[in-house]
């Protein structure tokens, strides 16, 4: 509409004015034209400046101005204005046409027809006006692209089955292929749903520098009318067998606001969890936390699925997968208790049937007298609490009971802090008459690791604080795996409300910045809630505070049924979470848990000595076992950037599960091994974020001097492409003196002068 009106008034389309340069080519010397114009203007100026009784000064100025404007337009036309514009020489230039051959082109998001239909209609054997117009001007070269780029002989070769869209690679390949010929530009026909990691900036700069305009043609809808998509899934990489796993999902949608969808979790086809999710309003995403129990050992591919709804544009984006390693190994936790308390008994009972947790108890029964339970051999903890790193760091977790800070040496307190920060162990500090500030921990190295603020004045109450508190969930704790006491969040919340009160001797009210509170306790005579369970990440490990003294009441209390498992469930989940992710001396992670076939995988290993000091001089090798069973060795190199960090890469060329086993040794002495898994296969990437990305396509066009089109506006492409400085071009002159707008202005100005004079009684 706008462009048509513009062309009517100005004779040419806007693109001609954008690309052309203004010039004058008067048939007479320009000075003569100006002189003639001045001569014609002089009488009008003289007449209108002479005082006349019937005309006021404003009238004279207005009429003089109108007359001069008319004369100015005439002078402009006599000077013969024109646009000088570079246009291609027909059939002397090449035009690269890049066609998206990825799966997203199969999406039928606008009507019944898929995006690829436009390709068939336009470039099919029947031909089209567009191709004919382009073919008249250029030598056309076609390319197909997805994760790879290939020359295309016939549109019939397109399959629209590419697993990824890599625009940067496509543009770069076409530029290189056509570097030796006069290139007028590139036409990129795609939905713009780029899902490669490659940045576009570099290739766009190269194209701009080479004066190769890229004209983009966007296919598909910028927003699906009706669709549900799982956008993100966040799972732990490793969990202990039998653990409750909490997974955060983000559900996006359009057109389903207020409706409820069923969300399921599958493990090898078996549904392990299901819940209904009510979708928020249009444009909003729903964060969802799902819980399930990981029972099967080994690398497990969990599939998260939002049930497909009628009318959805894409159903493939309703499914996401995540690879989780379910560890059957045993985690060893040291529980050091400073005074005989029932917590020891009931914690031991709670995890007695848990094959993945073992609690070794060091019970101080008298001064310098210890009672050990669950030790492996007579020498373990024979000297009491560990005095050297190697002795303490053999455990994955540490529970500190009611034991005063002065029991430890300064080095031991520092060692416990390093146990969390460097070794990556889990620390759980319990309440009691010798715990936290009351136990003298304020200002000690250990206080740094704890998630709560220890007020040194807190112990100034003479140790008299005592409160029986009703424990409740915080909003954060509501969905946390530690505090899930039932299968679903609502039942869990209801169970928490039923639990009996516990008692506290440690009034902790403030957590540190970065720490999270899961449980708080309220007492009738306290205005503010007390912190009952909080955690924070400290260095490589986790530190938790649980400042109650009798959680065993959740087992023993008269209100608790005999067969109730609340206490057991809570403690198992607490300790499992505390030590989940705790690594050994050799740890390995892969950059991604799932990759597309053919994608590179980067593996990173961390290697430490027995005291968990990072080792840089180790010999580290990754044995990669392919899905087909072939094994190959990949040496790992120290990264230099971080102590003890080694890295290597390999290509996942087959669909299936890759096992990566890293072994480290130093001077022939084994340091340990660790394993990680990567699932290669079809990630259905093309169906996520598959809406047409107009902003990206506009950016590509803008930065290279091209234009952005849609199927509705593509008709002007052949002419627009012709106006280019690239390739073999000639300069055309386009007259402007006969633009309709000038004629209309002349008529308008003269009519205005006449009308004004008549209105003033001068005509």
């Amino acid at each position: 509409m706008f462009e048509g009106l513009f062309q009517f008034l100005f004779k040419y389309r806007p693109v001609v004015f954008e690309r052309g340069e203004l010039a004058f080519d008067a048939p007479w010397p320009i000075a003569l034209v100006l002189l003639a114009g001045a001569a014609a203007a002089l009488p009008a100026v003289v007449i209108y400046t002479r005082p006349q009784a019937r005309l006021r000064t404003p009238d004279r100025a207005l009429l003089a101005g109108l007359r001069l404007a008319v004369l100015g337009i005439l002078v402009f036309c006599l000077a013969r204005p024109m646009l000088v514009i570079a246009t291609v020489v027909p059939q002397q230039n090449f035009l690269g046409i890049l066609i998206d051959d990825s799966r997203s082109m199969q999406i039928a998001d606008e009507g019944e027809q898929p995006r690829s239909e436009f390709i068939h209609e336009t470039f099919g054997p029947e031909g089209s006006e567009l191709v004919a117009a382009l073919g008249d001007r250029f030598k056309l070269r076609f390319f197909r692209f997805s994760e790879t780029v290939q020359r295309l002989g016939d549109v019939g070769e397109l399959t629209f089955t590419g697993r990824r869209t890599d625009l940067a690679r496509a543009l770069d390949a076409a530029r290189r292929e056509l570097a030796a010929v006069p290139l007028a530009g590139l036409v990129l026909i795609t939905d713009g749903a780029d899902n490669a990691d490659a940045p576009l900036t570099e290739i766009l700069l190269q194209l701009a520098a080479g004066r190769v305009p890229v004209h983009t043609v966007g296919l598909g809808a910028q927003r699906f009318a009706k669709d549900i998509a799982l956008e993100r899934v966040a799972t732990p990489r490793t969990v202990l067998q039998g653990s409750s796993v909490a997974v955060d999902l983000t559900v996006a949608h359009s057109g389903f606001g207020g409706e409820t969808v069923r969300l399921t979790v599958e493990d090898a086809g078996r549904i392990v969890s299901a819940q209904d999710v009510r979708l928020p309003g249009e444009g909003e995403t729903a964060p969802v936390r799902v819980h399930f129990t990981a029972n099967e050992v080994g690398p497990r591919l969990f599939r998260f699925r939002a049930a497909a709804q009628p009318g959805e544009a894409v159903s493939q984006n309703n499914v996401l997968e995540a690879l989780v390693f379910v560890d059957s190994g045993e985690r060893k936790i040291l529980y050091f208790e400073g005074e005989p308390r029932f917590e020891v008994k009931f914690v031991r009972r709670a995890i007695a049937d848990d094959e993945n947790l073992r609690v070794v108890v060091l019970q101080r029964t008298a001064e310098n007298k210890f009672y050990r339970i669950g030790v492996d051999d007579p020498s373990e903890l024979a000297g009491g609490f560990p005095k050297v790193r190697e002795e303490l760091f053999r455990y994955d977790g540490l529970i500190l009971g009611s034991v005063e800070a002065s029991f430890f040496t300064h080095d031991q307190l520092g060692m416990i802090t390093e146990f969390v920060g460097q070794r990556g162990g889990g620390l759980l500090a319990l309440g009691g008459r010798h715990a936290f500030a009351r136990g003298g921990y304020a200002g000690t190295p250990l206080a740094e690791a704890l998630p709560i603020v220890l007020d040194s004045d807190a112990s100034s109450d003479g140790g008299s604080f005592f409160a029986e508190v009703k424990v409740g969930l915080t909003p954060y704790g509501r969905g946390h795996p530690v505090t899930q006491l039932a299968e679903d969040v609502e039942s869990s919340e209801a169970r928490w409300k039923e639990l009996p009160e516990l008692s506290m001797l440690n009034p902790l009210r403030e957590v540190k910045p970065g720490a999270s509170t899961l449980l708080t306790g309220r007492a009738a005579d306290l205005s503010d809630p007390l912190v009952v369970l909080a955690h924070q990440r400290y260095g490589r490990g986790r530190a938790m505070a649980f400042p109650v003294q009798d959680s065993w009441l959740w087992q023993m209390h008269a209100d608790i049924p005999v067969d109730d498992m609340t206490h057991e469930t809570f403690w198992r989940q607490l300790l499992r979470w505390l030590v989940s992710g705790v690594t050994d001396r050799v740890a390995v992670t892969s950059s991604l848990d799932r990759v597309e076939r053919g994608a590179p995988v980067t593996i990173t290993a961390e290697v430490s000595d027995s005291g968990y000091i990072r080792l840089n001089g180790a010999e580290v090798v990754a044995n990669v076992t392919t899905p087909g069973g072939l094994e190959r060795e990949v040496p790992m190199e120290w990264t230099v950037e971080r102590d003890g960090e080694y890295r290597a890469s390999f290509l996942a060329e087959e669909d299936g599960l890759y096992e990566v086993r890293v072994q480290a040794q130093q001077a022939g002495v084994p340091l340990g091994s660790a394993e990680s898994y990567v699932q290669a296969g079809d990630l259905q990437t093309e169906y996520f974020d598959a809406e047409m990305r107009a902003s990206l396509l506009e950016r590509i066009a803008d930065e290279t001097g091209g234009r952005f089109y849609t199927p509705a506006t593509i008709g002007t492409l052949p002419e627009d492409v012709s106006f280019t400085e690239s390739g073999t071009t000639v300069h055309e002159e386009r007259d402007l003196w006969d633009m309709p707008v000038l004629f209309l202005m002349l008529v308008g100005l003269i009519a205005a002068e006449w009308g004004y004079r008549r209105q003033r009684g001068l005509a």
Partner: protein, 275 residues
């Protein structure tokens, strides 16, 4: 697996301390209250809750009360105005002395000047996972008490039976069968961890009844009848460690015997708090 660090020197010091404290412990509040209790009150009108303390998280000695097969006058306890409830034998001097020793010898911080008397169907009992019963030979149970006691044990409670000898066994065994019909009373030997949780008790031969002079025998009830699992009940048959605790400050009972009684008690408590 059980581990142990205690040096012999440490253990010896502890025993000496027991003896020293046993001789020096002073008359207690409970004794004064005993003298002021009204003579011959109607037994059913006594409010035993008056003698209890509210829960504050600390270890409090709990004495289990029951309706005895026969209530007599004099003998045994005598605290409640001369009424002999059987379960009250040695109350409160035994628990006062014992908790003082427990406080001095271990890092435990028990209530030393108060204790509780609770029935087996009292919900308060569940706040105290260790309880003591004297004279189970006279023990009777209501159905509510059977249920309460069973729940208590299954949830994690631990009970010490003491002060019974000879024919008392039969009543004790019969009542236990009502509570835990599928559980067996198993005779314990010195290898069980309960005899090594604090003091190293290498042999049980030295234990005799303090005034009947018959050899003591120790029986236990295990969770699921599995000797590798938790001990829920220990029965000091042919023994009366409460008697030894009560009179430990008088010299009426030999110090050796008193020491051994304290050692048993401390081991029981430490075991119950860790198993």
């Amino acid at each position: 697996m059980r581990g142990r660090i205690a040096s012999m020197a440490c253990a010896a010091r502890s025993v000496l301390l027991v003896a020293a404290l046993a001789l020096t412990v002073s008359p207690l509040e409970g004794q004064r209250r005993s003298r002021s209790f009204p003579r011959r009150p109607p037994p059913e009108n006594v409010n035993f809750e008056e003698f209890n303390v509210p829960y504050d998280g600390r270890f409090a000695f709990v004495r289990l009360r029951f309706t005895p097969t026969a209530i007599g006058w004099g003998g045994g306890g005598g605290f409640f105005g001369g009424v002999n409830y059987q379960w009250d034998h040695d109350y409160p001097r035994a628990e006062r002395h014992f908790t003082r020793i427990l406080s001095e010898v271990t890092t435990l911080s028990p209530l030393t000047n108060a204790s509780n008397i609770l029935a087996l169907d009292d919900p308060e009992l569940f706040k105290y996972p260790v309880a003591y019963m004297s004279e189970p030979g006279y023990w009777t149970l209501t159905e509510a008490e059977v249920e309460g006691f069973r729940d208590y044990l299954h949830k994690g409670g631990f009970v010490i039976f003491d002060d019974f000898v000879g024919g008392h066994w039969f009543n004790f065994e019969e009542q236990m069968r009502r509570v835990l019909p599928n559980h067996r009373l198993v005779r314990l030997d010195a290898s069980h961890p309960i005899f090594h949780s604090f003091f190293e008790i290498e042999s049980l031969d030295q234990y005799i009844h303090p005034y009947r002079f018959v050899p003591s025998v120790f029986y236990g009830v295990f969770e699921d009848n599995d000797p590798n699992k938790r001990l829920m009940v220990i029965a000091n048959y042919n023994n009366d460690i409460g008697e030894s605790w009560e009179w430990s400050d008088t010299g009426w009972i030999p110090i050796d015997l008193t020491n051994e009684a304290y050692k048993l008690g401390i081991n029981y408590i430490v075991y119950a708090m860790t198993h």
